[in-house]
Amino acid sequence: MQQKTPQLIFYWRDATGSESTVRLSLPVGSSVATIASAAASLRPLLESLSDAAIVKQDIAYTWRDLSPPDPSTRLVGESGAFIFDTGVLNQVTIIVLPAASADLFVTSGPLAGIDIDLAQSDVAAFIAAINSGLWVNPFGYDLVECVAAYLTVKL
């Protein structure tokens, strides 16, 4: 993976409610704290030039694969939805995997082709990595258990 220059993105809203962005690039290696500080300095200068209002900002880091493999025929809309629990009441999250391979699904019973086999070796390895890694739900709660996984299709 090759890292691209990180971006600071300001989101603006006008009097009609329409939104637009201003994007600025920063050197590779810039930390979140450094970019946030630079953003705080630049923001009032930009605001003095515009009649719109800044409503949020993102600091975005991206990488690209210079030689990705060829995809096979399954479409990205044929997804696997993994439901992860955090152990905290009402705090779950869903991780959606595009183009879920047909190998992941149970092959017998009423949910054949719908339910993902949590015991399948690649599935189990993925779930173990999520449960043991630094991954959390959008509110910052640790993911501790995959409680269900199944096919979801959006075309």
Partner: protein, 165 residues
């Protein structure tokens, strides 16, 4: 006005299928996670995700989101389609740009050029090209001077059309 961060940053892989359609698989990490650690965690996860999908992973990223807690009201009549385009020269001789939405009309000359003598305009130019400023082009080359600055009107997108027609 103050920005506060959301509890978690969003890490993702971008995938493409054989038809050329792209999609993402998204995860969350605690906001305070260092970017190096997020990159390392994505490196661990990538082959595991690749083993589950028939799409190809073509990229990855992480976004640290902030929300403005007390956004000011936009000025009546402002429209994001009215842009102030700032084109900058970089150290390697190329250009980079950003387009500021709803540029104030008081900053414009009658020709539509942005008045670089205006104090607020001069301040942003000075800040962006300052020797110790971080801002650069997409290729990482430092921004060194302003090249052009002018008003431009973008087309209204479908999402920007009024809803009460």
């Amino acid at each position: 006005m103050s920005m506060s961060n959301l509890p978690a940053a969003v890490a993702y892989f971008t995938l493409v299928d054989a038809s050329g359609s792209t999609s993402k698989i998204e995860f969350h990490v605690p906001f305070a996670t260092a970017i190096l650690d997020v990159g390392g965690a994505l490196d661990v996860l990538r082959p595991l995700v690749a083993a589950l999908t028939d799409a190809a992973i073509i990229g990855q990223g992480v976004t640290f989101p902030y929300k403005e807690n007390a956004a000011v009201a936009p000025v009546a009549g402002s429209r994001v389609e009215e842009k102030g385009v700032f084109i900058w020269r970089t150290a390697n001789g190329r250009t980079t740009r950003f387009s500021l939405p709803a540029i104030k009309d008081t900053l414009l000359k009658t020709s539509g050029a942005i008045d670089r003598a205006n104090a607020a305009v001069a301040a942003i130019i000075t800040s962006v090209i300052a020797v110790n400023a971080l801002w650069c082009g997409a290729d990482g080359s430092d921004i060194t001077s302003i090249d052009k600055a002018y008003q431009r009107f973008n087309s209204t997108t479908k999402n920007q059309l009024p809803k009460d027609v």
